[in-house]
Symmetry: C2
């Protein structure tokens, strides 16, 4: 007997059905906004990450040398791949480019609830627009996707900021500040005590007074106060951009899901502008579900024309936890419209009924295992069949079949040439 690998999951039909319904819902939302599906490879040259990414991600790569001596890796995220694809066909693609895809990614991480080594994301990106409407459309899609799943603003919120606000505030201080370290401290602050947080800020070059002052300023979320504190063009422009994005989000119907949260830094990734994280507001402790933002420099750094970009990537494991806590996760059960039960040598008539019902698009099973009446009925029950069509030798001698409603247990006999006849979805009720 073989085991699956730790951090890799098998999805059996019930759970897979719930996942598929969820994926379909959020992909349908993406299609309605005109995002177009793309297909991307599982393997890429490892340089796409080792050249540019932080050590964290490089240490977690499933990378190896292939038979052709290439240093390759299982992709830990989609963004470098889509950047490569944009660069490869930059001239031919009409802009803005709006793409989505749902697929697995792989990172060698500590396995915990909501975090596996193989994990699924739906990536949604816009390339070729620096306008606030593009950021707002990403926010609007994300809100639409979540509300289409049955979630409301009781369950989630988007905490929105702009990378240049924090950077600009630290830059404006009269001190020798390591801005990246300081941003990293803010990014971690909700997991730290105040003292630990301030110590990290001091370690990044702030004075003790500055640490307290900046902490107060950032947690206030007061944009006017931040603007006058920093008093630099960079911060003023960032705040203006953030407000423009939120204004556009208001027109697009997503503003009500957004709160300004200057702590939101999205690590030190490739983000350059507005950044946001979706938080679970159902639990006592709120938790980041997924995030996104603007990354205007990535395409150029991949050798392409300067191309602004903004995107988001909900992960399906954390999304499932959120939906489950909110009570909107789809039922994990298979469903079946008809089971056509054979008694005796009635295969040819049963097969005709199956074919006609399937032509109407219904989910139809029949016996393929030579089972008895009882075990066929048990099986029909196990697959949650709504209607059982009993095709028995004796009934057929009278040109009849029996229609059984599995919910009530009621059944009735019907002329065989009237089933399914002209009916689109014949059930017990039509014949009772």
């Amino acid at each position: 007997m073989y085991d699956r690998i730790k951090g890799f999951r098998d999805f059996y039909p019930g759970e897979m059905g719930a996942r598929r319904a969820t994926i379909d819902t959020i992909e349908d939302a993406a299609r309605r906004y005109g995002f177009r599906e793309i297909g991307t490879p599982a393997l890429e040259r490892a340089e796409l990450w080792t050249d540019k990414s932080g050590d964290d991600i490089v240490e977690e790569l499933y990378s190896f040398e292939d038979q052709g001596g290439r240093h390759v890796t299982l992709t830990p995220e989609l963004t470098p791949t889509v950047a490569r694809m944009v660069v490869a066909k930059q001239q031919a693609l009409s802009k803005p480019i709006k793409w989505f895809s749902t697929r697995p990614f792989w990172r060698y991480e500590q396995v915990q609830q909501g975090r596996q080594r193989e994990f699924y994301q739906t990536n949604v990106d816009i390339f070729g627009s620096a306008e606030p409407e593009a950021d707002a459309e990403i926010l609007a899609w994300a809100a639409d996707a979540l509300t289409s799943l049955g979630l409301t603003d009781e369950h989630f919120e988007f905490r929105v900021s702009h990378r240049d606000i924090l950077g600009g505030v630290f830059e404006s201080l009269e001190a020798d500040v390591d801005v990246d370290d300081a941003i990293r401290a803010v990014d971690k602050s909700d997991k730290l005590s105040t003292a630990e947080y301030h110590d990290l800020l001091i370690g990044a070059g702030l004075s003790a007074d500055q640490a307290v002052e900046v902490d107060d300023l950032i947690s206030s979320g007061d944009l006017e106060a931040v603007e006058s504190f920093a008093d630099t063009e960079r911060v003023t422009a960032a705040i203006e951009n953030l407000q423009n994005v939120l204004d556009a989000a208001a027109d697009f119907g997503a503003r009500e899901h957004c709160t300004i949260s200057l702590e939101t830094a999205r690590g030190l990734d490739y983000y350059t502008g507005v950044v946001f994280e979706c938080f679970d507001s159902t639990g006592e402790v709120s938790r980041s579900i997924f995030g996104g933002g603007r990354y205007d420099d990535l395409i150029e750094s991949f050798g392409g024309q300067p191309t602004p970009a903004v995107g988001v990537a909900p992960g399906h494991a954390t999304l499932a936890l959120l939906c489950q806590r909110a009570g909107v996760w789809p039922e994990e059960a298979v469903s079946t419209d008809y089971y056509v039960l054979q008694i005796g040598d009635t295969r040819s008539e049963a097969a005709r009924i199956c074919r006609e019902l399937r032509e109407r698009g219904h989910v139809v099973e029949t016996d393929v295992a030579g089972r008895s009446f009882g075990s066929q009925l048990n099986y029909a029950d196990s697959i949650n069949a709504e209607t059982v069509v009993i095709v028995g030798e004796q009934d057929l001698a009278n040109d009849e079949v029996t229609i059984k409603d599995m919910d009530s247990g009621d059944q009735t006999q019907v002329p065989v040439d009237e089933f399914p006849g002209e009916l689109e979805r014949p059930t017990f009720d039509e014949f009772a």
Copy 2:
């Protein structure tokens, strides 16, 4: 600039749309038969293949040691994974177990037309029935899937045989025959000259006369002649089973797509009973598109209860070639229901129209890049928008928007509060 890896493909939206339509069609057919979707890992322990598979597949594995020292591999096929999943929940799963999934697999092979190193398959399997109806249901699904794509028996045929027929014939010869080598020779025979083919049979232990006799016998496809030639229980039982499967396939509507072809051996894999291959009959040279068959011993060899099994796995690259040659491949173009064009400061009204149209399920784009009238119209054309809704400042001052049919170029003005109003899918025609 980074390159993708040889044998790995990027799918841009037009081609991806055609692939998605194809996948949806054949998955819908699987759902109608009551096959249930499962989700499976990309990585497995390499032993799942190195313990049992032939050298061919082991040499092509993308295998490596992970950070935890596990010898893992990118899965080159699905069957060992589903066997592992059946064994893991054998008691809990009601039988027959009917599963499907579509996903990529990986083999380090020579890249050629229709064969990449990353390739997609839809696997469809039934576990827990040894009855001919199970084999026939697999054939019926495959036929239904292909005809749902628009293919007919002018384009494809299933060549059906039984593993024990060839094996039994060779076993029955009065000679010291290496049966596996002999079957392998038959399997390759359509790529060989008659002389080469006979040499391989002689190499496997047949006399020159026997090689000629067996060649004639096998290519005749005459089951009665084969039965009396071998005159063994094994061959008689195999022929009876094959005929039972074809009889069930007749009831299930798939018989017309099947021809008996005793050359069909499906290599030396894990097959134990009926085997079949789908051939392209459109080209001058017919070519195997995909294959399947019965593999009753695999689950037990994975440590499970003896569990008969039968399955098939169409590959999407060869299926696309078949559909393209037959002229039924979906158009590789994106489609868009509405483009909502903004002139001047009309975002809020344009956004309302977008939201209302999207709520009705339509694909709707609007400007997110601050474009001019002309470049918005060009973009609308590039995404094949059917209707353009022009929301201009001047029109809005008169409480109107302009509806433009992109096919004809015709346009008309409409009261803004009537668009979309109560209409499910308002176009130019409703207002002309």
